[in-house]
């Protein structure tokens, strides 16, 4: 298993953002659904090793990120796209992706090709020399995805990756996710259930810091039959599970 979470908890003062989440995930695309404030981003930040858990155990790629050495090894194999993408406006797309390739300690000889490949994969090849400050929101998101995948990670954590992407880009991105999911664990936190339906082999649903559902998209759809509210089958399953959890 690439991701093993046991009773994972994170508190911010008196607020419990993540409340005893236990989860395992192997290679494949893993969807993380939930309403605003459910704790998805906090869970992803803990998995990205930037936020230590308050309690519980966390093993990523077979290593405990609590130790400095193992944490470095995890980060070497990690790709992370935060919910709010920070970027340096004066950098070009190429510089931005190269910057993170270097910070990820990739062998210098492989950096140029890896950067070019990542930029091509997100469809920004013709914008490689354009400064980030001139890009649209969707293009910035794609630049963020490029920096996340530049090291071809074994664990790819994407927080709202399709926010701002147009439908055509979103379709292409899902294909990219499926390709990565063949050999790596991809965790996608999203509000968009169609992303989950199209790309994810497994899905979890969080509410108030707790995991209230874990299964396949088909199982989530089944939960909503005749019960849930929504236009799509997955939306009905989503609302049915939430309603059940809150009752």
């Amino acid at each position: 298993m690439n991701v093993e979470l046991t009773g994972l908890t994170r508190k911010f003062g008196r607020t419990q953002a993540v409340a005893g989440v236990t989860l395992e995930a192997g290679p494949g695309v893993f969807g993380l659904l939930g309403p605003n404030g459910a704790g998805k981003t906090s869970l992803l930040r803990m998995m990205a090793t930037v936020l230590p858990p308050t309690s519980g155990t966390l093993r990523l790629l077979g290593r405990d990120p609590g130790g400095y050495g193992p944490r470095r090894e995890i980060r070497r194999r990690l790709g992370y796209l935060p919910q709010t993408l920070g970027y340096y406006p004066g950098f070009t797309v190429y510089d931005f992706v190269e910057y993170f390739a270097l910070l990820k300690d990739m062998p210098p000889g492989q950096v140029p090709r890896a950067v070019a490949t990542a930029i091509e994969q997100v469809g920004l090849g013709d914008k490689a020399r354009v400064k980030l400050r001139t890009l649209s929101g969707g293009m910035l998101r794609r630049a963020g995805i490029a920096q996340a995948i530049v090291n071809r990670p074994e664990l790819l954590l994407l927080d709202e990756p399709t926010a701002g992407l147009d439908p055509e880009q979103r379709v292409a991105f899902r294909a990219l996710l499926r390709e990565f999911g063949q050999r790596a664990t991809v965790v996608v936190s999203t509000h968009l259930v169609e992303d989950v339906a199209a790309a994810c082999s497994e899905v979890s649903l969080m509410d108030s810091g707790r995991l209230v559902f874990h299964g396949t998209p088909g199982e989530l759809i089944a939960r909503g039959e005749g019960h849930g509210v929504g236009d799509a089958p997955l939306e009905r399953g989503y609302s049915a599970v939430l309603a059940a959890a809150r009752s």
């Binding site: 930040r45 990205a48 090793t49 930037v50 400095y68 050495g69 944490r71 470095r72 980060r75 070497r76 194999r77 990690l78 992370y80 935060p82 709010t84 993408l85 920070g86 970027y87 340096y88 406006p89 004066g90 950098f91 510089d95 190269e98 910057y99 993170f100 270097l102 910070l103 990820k104 300690d105 990739m106 062998p107 210098p108 000889g109 492989q110 950096v111 490949t117 091509e120 994969q121 997100v122 469809g123 794609r142 920096q147 090291n151 071809r152 990670p153 074994e154 992407l165 055509e168 880009q169 292409a172 991105f173 294909a175 990219l176 390709e179 063949q182 050999r183």
Partner: protein
């Protein structure tokens, strides 16, 4: 978005020798995206206006021209606020752009990434300073005929720039916001303003470490008669480098900066930098002002005390007059000043047989020689020789002086050296004879008080310099003595010089 199938491969592992190449590439990326070069043209304009423009009007000697730029630290004053502000802007970059999570989730410790940004910032700031100094020295040096510029003060300035850049960067990294740059710039301006004020008032001790403190550090005849003493600039380099290193080390101390080993290294770096800065201040307390400048025993090299050999340039206004070649442009003024004096005293007991320039010595403390040697013109030896420390006199084009005031002061000092022994004010009879000789040397009695005002012997009842006047008995005796035929005056002086010098005469005894 398109999907391209990249070949599946394992996550590449870093070879140990690749890390420096990665850091070098990271530095290159940071150099290309640093904000410092954007502000360098503005600094250059301010430097030209505040420093170079003034230095270029000063006499063509390194020690005089660079006194303002390096001695009083104006180059650093011009650079520091901007460097600190831009460095704070760069240091706060990750925080302002919300890059914390992204950078933290990478393999490289946060501190290493910050070091790359810091290094790029310092390289641009120090590089800009060095380029500007190189251009400045090249332009200023075109008119300088002797010696070379002092390199250690230039290095001290570069270290000071690095220190301000590091402090600003650390401030920005610790308190990231869009307001941190102006705060750091104002802090730099305030620091330099305070340092300048202290530099003008303090005489020594810890204040010597300030780059704006010129006391005993710059001026007189350094680099002309004797080498520039590097003691204090070296101490300042140690201090500034220590501050810079400590500031950078501080960034590596937080838990988020990296692993335990790296944080231990950061602690060692911080402690080393702080120790160096404290040691430099401690060394400044041991400093004293010697003849040739500030001496710090622990840093002093005896080789720096050896005089610089030279072949003098000479004129002959009645006696041989020889100057150090750096003063060649002033030989006509010196001969013009001495000619009317020499013509009156030649053949008298104690009259100078030759005149030679000597090194001006630092006057602070007890370092200057007895009876004003090294500060004023003195007469000594057998046959008597007039020693002229021209470096202690305001040269034409410096400090508001012109050729006439320079000549006038030389005349006063030459006559004074002949008439009044020991560098004192002299008694009334001596003052009267001095005034008469000066009148016949071309300085009317009425204007003598203003000329004397620029010497160590301004008139006692002066008030404003130009309003000063001789006491009535002195003025009357001077007028009477000056009105005598030259031969009569010469004969009287030949007979009475020993008694006059011994203070045994009164104004009433003058013919």
């Amino acid at each position: 978005m398109t999907v391209t199938s990249a070949p599946a491969r394992a996550t590449p592992r870093q070879a140990p020798q690749a890390a420096p190449r990665n850091m070098a590439r990271l530095l290159w990326v940071e150099l290309r995206h640093n904000a410092m070069p954007l502000v360098l043209p503005l600094i250059a304009v301010i430097f030209w206006f505040d420093s170079y423009r003034i230095a270029a009007t000063l006499p063509p000697m390194w020690v005089v021209r660079l006194y303002y730029i390096l001695g009083q630290g104006h180059a650093l004053v011009d650079f520091a606020p901007f460097v600190a502000g831009v460095a704070a802007w760069m240091g706060s970059r990750d925080g302002r752009h919300g890059m914390g999570d992204l950078v933290t989730a990478t393999v490289r410790p946060r501190w290493e990434a910050q070091l790359a940004t810091w290094a790029a910032t310092v390289i641009w700031a120090v590089g800009g300073y060095l380029v500007l100094m190189a251009v400045t020295l090249a332009l200023l040096g075109r008119a300088v005929a002797w010696g070379g510029p002092p390199w250690w003060p230039v290095a001290a300035g570069a270290a000071g720039i690095a220190a301000f850049a590091s402090l600003g960067f650390a401030l920005g990294a610790c308190f990231p916001s869009r307001f941190i740059a102006p705060v750091a710039a104002f802090g730099g301006l305030f620091a330099m303003g305070t340092a300048s004020r202290i530099g003008f008032s303090a005489a020594g001790g810890w204040a010597l470490i300030l780059p704006t403190m010129s006391n005993g550090n710059f001026g007189q005849d350094a680099g002309i008669f004797y080498p520039w003493l590097p003691d204090l600039p070296i101490d300042r380099v140690v201090f500034a480098a220590g501050v810079a290193v400590a500031a950078v080390g501080l960034l590596g101390l937080p838990v988020s900066a990296g692993g335990p080993r790296l944080r231990r290294s950061a602690a060692v770096v911080t402690a080393t930098g702080a120790a160096a800065a404290v040691a430099a201040i401690a060394l400044a307390f041991t400093a004293y002002v010697g003849h040739d400048g500030t001496v710090i025993p622990a840093l002093h090299d005896a080789a720096s005390d050896r005089p610089i050999p030279y072949a003098p340039v000479c004129g002959h206004p009645g006696i041989p007059v020889c100057l150090q070649p750096a003063y060649r442009p002033y030989l006509p003024d010196v001969t013009a000043a001495l000619r009317p004096v020499i013509s009156q005293v030649t053949g008298l007991p104690g009259a100078p047989a030759r005149a030679r320039q000597v090194a001006a010595l630092f006057a602070a403390g007890s370092a200057a020689g007895p009876n004003g040697v090294g500060q004023i013109l003195t007469l000594s030896g057998n046959p008597p020789a007039l020693s002229m420390p021209l470096g202690a006199i305001a040269l034409p084009r410096s400090f508001g002086a012109d050729s006439a005031s320079f000549i006038g002061q030389l005349k006063v000092e030459a006559v004074h050296a002949f008439v009044i022994p020991g560098g004192s004010y002299g008694d009334p009879a001596q003052q009267a004879v001095e005034a008469a000789l000066l009148q016949n040397a071309g300085i009317p009695l009425a204007t003598q008080p203003s000329v004397l005002g620029a010497t160590p012997w301004p008139l006692m009842n002066g008030g404003p310099r130009t309003a000063g006047r001789y006491p009535q008995p002195v003025a009357a005796a001077a007028r009477r003595f000056a009105a005598l035929p030259a031969a009569t005056r010469h004969a009287w002086l030949a007979a009475h010089m020993p008694a006059l010098r011994a203070g045994q005469l009164t104004p009433g005894q003058l013919p």
